[in-house]
Symmetry: C2
């Protein structure tokens, strides 16, 4: 099948592309290289079934030309701002890169009769609901970040476009994803800080912010597992929470990094407060019953995902063990 991966040079998109090529699909990638980069596509670039269009999904004419030329059957939408701290300072980033990309992709699918859609949503759509087990039926979705708002707005668009145009859509809401090709986030920050100063580590918040981290290979496997199921689905939209049942605190991440860097005497300096930054959801519990019942479970636990990612980051950054 010919598929289009929007945001395919980014962290999750590039991992997905490798898996789709492995499965024998033809892959059309669009990326504006704002967060993605061609290094992530090294494996794909050498593959005969891969083609890259460098350009902006917010440019409707460009997008329309790619669809007209390539005629994809399935669109995987992984183009978005993924740096919540950055957009907290400038919400325009989410309006443009997260919401408008969704609107434009759905509009061009409508124009060219493309019917199948995958969307990478987020646990951030739920907002901050301490003490509530978040499942797909949780009411009152009140995102507290511009990122979560743009993703929830995108889900609403997917609902309407799917109903109006007989699309079948698959939406995954997942928390932090980590692994190869990761470009930013707490693991990166800590490694960089410790590379600069191996005695001290500043940790935002009180270090107890605890989140489930899913390894990108598990997420990609879930996409492959469910991508064809939607054809037989009764509803236009099939929605799953995706994640791991375990979680890792920020302090535990620091510990794992120190272990992997063989640093034994690092002093942690906590900035204090419950959340790392405004718009951050400090702690949540995520119900995965629906996706487990449907036959998928993550292989890699949260701590393990962190450790594997740390090793990747250290390998890429070429840090010498002491």
């Amino acid at each position: 099948m010919k598929v289009l991966v929007a945001g395919g040079a980014g962290f999750i998109g590039s991992n997905l592309i490798e898996a789709l090529l492995d499965k024998g699909h033809q892959v059309v990638c669009i990326d504006n290289m704002s967060l993605g980069n061609t290094d992530n596509l090294n494996m794909a670039m050498a593959h005969p079934s891969f083609i890259l269009y460098e350009g902006d999904i917010c440019d409707r004419d460009f997008l329309s030309k790619v669809f007209k030329r390539e005629k994809p059957e399935y669109v995987f939408h992984l183009a978005a701002n993924s740096d919540i701290q950055a957009s907290a300072k400038n919400p325009d980033v989410e309006y443009r890169n997260t919401y408008t990309t969704t609107f434009n992709l759905l509009s061009v699918m409508r124009e060219y009769g493309v019917k199948k859609f995958f969307f990478a949503s987020t646990s951030a759509v739920y907002g901050d609901k301490p003490g509530i087990l978040l499942d797909e039926n949780t009411p009152n979705l009140e995102p507290i970040s511009y990122y979560g708002a743009a993703k929830l707005g995108s889900e609403a668009l997917i609902s309407a476009f799917s109903y109006m145009n007989d699309f079948k859509a698959l939406i995954f809401r997942f928390p932090n994803v980590i692994g190869p090709h990761l470009t930013h986030g707490v693991i990166f920050d800590f490694v960089r800080k410790l590379q600069n100063d191996s005695d001290n580590l500043e940790i935002l918040g009180d270090g107890n912010q605890t989140k489930p981290y899913i390894y990108v290979a598990d997420l990609v496997e879930a996409i492959l597992y469910f991508m064809n199921e939607i054809e037989d689905a009764q509803n236009p939209v099939t929605l799953y929470n995706i994640g791991v049942n375990t979680a890792t605190s920020v302090k535990r991440i620091a510990d794992i990094i120190c272990e992997e860097m063989k640093l034994e005497h690092v002093v942690y300096h906590f900035t204090g407060g419950a959340g790392g930054w405004k718009g951050d959801v400090p702690r949540f519990t995520y119900c995965l019953d629906k996706v487990h019942r449907a036959g998928w479970t993550a292989e890699c636990e949260s701590d393990d995902a962190v450790r594997r990612t740390v090793r990747h980051v250290l390998g890429v950054s070429g840090v010498q063990e002491r």
Copy 2:
């Protein structure tokens, strides 16, 4: 208080402006006159506390200049596409006039430190959920129209902007509103058809589509009733379903119009099917317990709202009784 009404030359906005001026507020109106018109502002234009800016809220520079100059304290957002059938053919209308207007207003409020916001949302955010009593805690909001999607996306933006910038926001989700200054919809269509042919009336669907119609004066009264309550609210966003407990079928609307036009022998021709058009929610039941408990109830029942509106439409269109 100096308030800004976005979309103030439109149907609901112009009714709200008259009430706000009556209450002694200074009113700044912005409208691009795409659906609004200055006829709706006849009363306001003669008032010394009123000023109109004709321009597009999608133009951020224009909007920013109005905020800089006028320094409003409270923003009432009634600028939106309101013609669901029109946007079904061209979703760009909702992206621009419904979603982007919300994003721009919130962004400029953030820029100028304006903290109070009213948003006109819709029962269309719930989607088509036959047999479910729709209350504010109903989960799985799955809009089936681009209009409903853009409104739900707007609610998500309001949640995030309010949390991030200490705004207090009031959101009303209401169904069809009718009354003076109405510009389109089923009542208009039927009157126009009957003015052209007083023997026959084509009715979309099977005529059993039954919806609650709220009279615009009741809605405006609800806005005035709750607009200052939000200051003391614990949550950034206060959300109410607003409406009437009664409902009127499309066939009953036709009957009322025929009665008011003194037409006794009109033959109805039904096009058939449950919904009037794709994206229409044919029938729903709306829970108003929360707003009733908070002390507000509509004065005008649904049938009565229809009859009053028909009289207004006939008065404006100058139809002679036969």
